[in-house]
Amino acid sequence: MTNSTELLYVISGEDFASAGEASTSFKNELKKLNVSPEVIRRASIAMYEGEINMVIHAYGGTARVTVDDKDIKIVLADNGPGIEDVEKAMQAGYSTATDGIRDLGFGAGMGLPNMKKYSDEMTIETHEGEGTTVTMIVHREPEVS
């Protein structure tokens, strides 16, 4: 039998101080689901970077999480401006964030690279002026090859 848990978070784009609340709550849920600490950490960091991205670039959005026996799937969707150049955005160090955001400790150009690094699979669907959907999957067990 496959157990599956669904979680939905609405991420406000208005308040930078509260950015990360969804990720904190998500991390606590994973603990309850007996996910291993290392996997929790990877998934939480990926989610947190995604949440920050949605707050600083896209006026907030939603995070839909599905946890089953094998995977943690995180779908981050926003109605923001879209990512103009995904290839560039994936480069470590590349950022379009303002100086104001950098003063807050983000905009180092590590958000998307970190999300890719900590997830096992990541896809980005983005349309200029319409929004972006990032899907990340973190496996609960390392793959045996």
């Binding site: 920050i52 470590a92 150009g109 690094k117």
Partner: protein, 120 residues
């Protein structure tokens, strides 16, 4: 090195987390950019930062960081300290600058973790 030793070496004020002073820390990371911190995960780590906002504690929460040290005399707000207290993170404040504080801990035997993670 214990958190208590970190406090002594840095001549630091304890802002919250007295119960955890005897916890062992194994590595440290110094940065004002949280995304840089998030890129390099180490176990039982200390985070030294000059950034003083709620996202420092969020970052520490996500990474299971045991102790946050605010350098250069930065004073976090009560709200930030409370947030750390709720998640069991010890918070210290030192007047030393980032470079000096990192150097002092290194000299005391704490390092950045074995080697470095290759990012690419």
């Amino acid at each position: 090195m214990t958190i208590r030793e970190v406090q002594t070496i840095l001549d630091a004020r304890l802002l919250t987390g007295e119960d955890s002073l005897d916890k062992e820390v194994l590595s440290a990371c110094g940065s004002d950019m949280m995304s840089d911190v998030l890129a390099f995960v180490k176990d039982q780590a200390v985070l030294l930062t000059g950034l003083c906002n709620a996202q420092v504690i969020r970052t520490a929460q996500m990474m299971d960081i045991l102790c946050v040290v605010f350098v250069r005399g930065k004073n976090p707000t009560e709200e930030i300290i409370q947030m750390a207290a709720e998640s069991g993170i010890t918070v210290l404040g030192t007047d030393h600058r980032m470079f000096s504080a990192c150097g002092m801990l290194w000299e005391g035997g704490l390092n950045g973790g074995a080697g470095y993670d290759k990012f690419h």
